[in-house]
């Protein structure tokens, strides 16, 4: 009898707990919904010129304007497209080169003076990833003028963060066993580096570089919007001349480039893994 009483009490306690946590979750849900409603009001509803939108009614018309391809534009896209890929490639490579100090400082096992150099490296990586490529591009256009160089520099600065982070992690995860083996065989420190360390780290670095290169194609395609070369400039011009079909064409060209990048990236990464 006492057993069933304790059991009843336990069951009651569990039910209470569950309904309490359910209540808490419901309150959180309400809070989130309230935030959403307020956000929607503050942003969309208040900020939009509803009158203009509804009365002008060419809403649908605006969308249909985009449907269609400006075939005459296509030949003029080849050169900017190549430029976009070049900017992405050079930028990624420059980024890898600039990464070296960040990787050296950012790996706990090889960083020279942990309390100072490690935080510096992490700061460099975070800054690189937090600043949008458009912001980098604006900065470099002001520094070196309009054109591809600004784009290359912007891409380089933006790429450092991710490449350095992954590479530093690869170095931290280094397997010490081959290192021990090459030492035991009588290899010099240089040989230990070439034979035991490099084969572990290099594939990771190459893999992440290609990965970032692919993303950089996407980024460099729009840097032209702020004057840094490539398809972005064509996009800008088509927009300004209200040639909406041209805009669609440029977007499609960008998609083609990105597809190209993904294909190349897939094969190279498989070869290197």
């Amino acid at each position: 009898m006492a057993v069933t009483e304790t059991m009843d009490r336990e069951v009651g306690r569990i039910i209470d707990q569950r309904s309490k946590s359910r209540r808490v979750r419901f309150l959180i849900f309400l809070g989130v919904m309230a935030l959403v409603v307020w956000s929607v009001k503050a942003t969309i509803i208040d900020d939009t010129d509803w009158e203009r939108l509804i009365t002008s009614g060419n809403f649908l018309e605006s969308i249909t304007q985009f449907l269609g391809i400006d075939w005459a534009l296509v030949p003029n896209l080849v050169s900017p497209a190549i430029e976009t890929i070049m900017v992405a490639t050079l930028g990624t490579l420059l980024g890898v080169v600039l990464c070296v100090p960040a990787i050296w400082f950012g790996a706990l096992n090889i960083t020279p003076f942990p309390p100072i150099t490690y935080p510096i490296a992490r700061l460099m990586m975070t800054l690189s990833r937090s600043i949008h490529e458009i912001v980098w591009a604006l900065f470099f256009v002001a520094a070196v003028g309009l054109g591809a160089l600004a784009g290359v520099l912007a891409i380089a600065m933006r790429s450092i963060g991710f490449i350095a982070k992954i590479s530093a992690e690869a170095i931290e995860d280094l397997d010490p066993k081959p290192v021990e083996a090459i030492r035991a065989v009588g290899g010099s420190e240089f040989q230990v580096f070439i034979y035991a360390i490099l084969p572990q780290v290099l594939p990771v670095v190459i893999g992440v570089t290609i990965f970032e290169w692919e993303i950089n194609i996407r980024r460099s395609s729009i840097l032209g919007l702020v004057g840094a070369g490539g398809l972005g400039l064509v996009f800008f011009r088509q927009l300004n001349t209200f040639n909406y079909e041209g805009v669609t064409t440029v977007i499609l060209a960008i998609l083609v480039l990105i597809l190209f990048g993904e294909i190349v990236s897939y094969f190279v990464r498989k070869a290197v893994i």
């Binding site: 066993k177 083996a181 035991a184 010099s188």
Partner: protein, 250 residues
Amino acid sequence: MSILSVRDLKVRYSASGPEILRGISFDVDEDDFFAIIGPSGAGKSTLIRCINRLVTPTSGEIVLYGTDVLSLKSRALRRLRRDIGMIFQEFNLVNRMSVMDNVLSGRLGYVGNTKALFRIFSKKDISRALTVLDRVGLSDHVDKRADELSGGQRQRVGIARALMQDPKLLLLDEPTSSLDPKISREVMALIMEIAREYRVPVLCNIHDVTLAMEFCNKILGLQDGIKMFDGPTSKMNQKKLDEIYAMEVL
């Protein structure tokens, strides 16, 4: 005439830490297949690694073929190491490289830095590598990546690599602990054959006492950094084993 003589070897990793080896002394002769046994933490791994100075002992003396191991400076140390072949518990191969490259790396002690960078080895070395791979039975796997092989095969690559060094002493650090029982026996048999064929003494750190008794002619029993037994396998019995392993609960 002993090839390797160890006197009063002591190892302490840090000034405040415990003494891992507390004065070990023993000799290895030319035809020995010497086993080091003992419970985990007895200092077996440390002892093996002192011989080629992967671990630096705190005090003591190690003399190999008349050379005082502990006094050697870097270049001489490398020359010593290239004469000592080591086979590891977890094979310690470079996983992404091919079997051939792993075996060739055994000659790194003889190859200059530039050649190592471009992985250029002499035709003699390559021929020797092929012969050695034949001997361990891996001729069909020469260009495979090391991580495509099974455990037993990988250990055989390790053996091949050690052979490439034309070693004067073989150090084995628990060579069979990562292998299943049948393969373990095959690997130990292969090592014993090769050691006899090339007349190389072997110092072997081993966990499995049965294997030690079967393949080795002398046994060093360690417990907690102290030598509990040093003599031919024939003199080993259950009572002495119990003494050595007394600390082990399981």
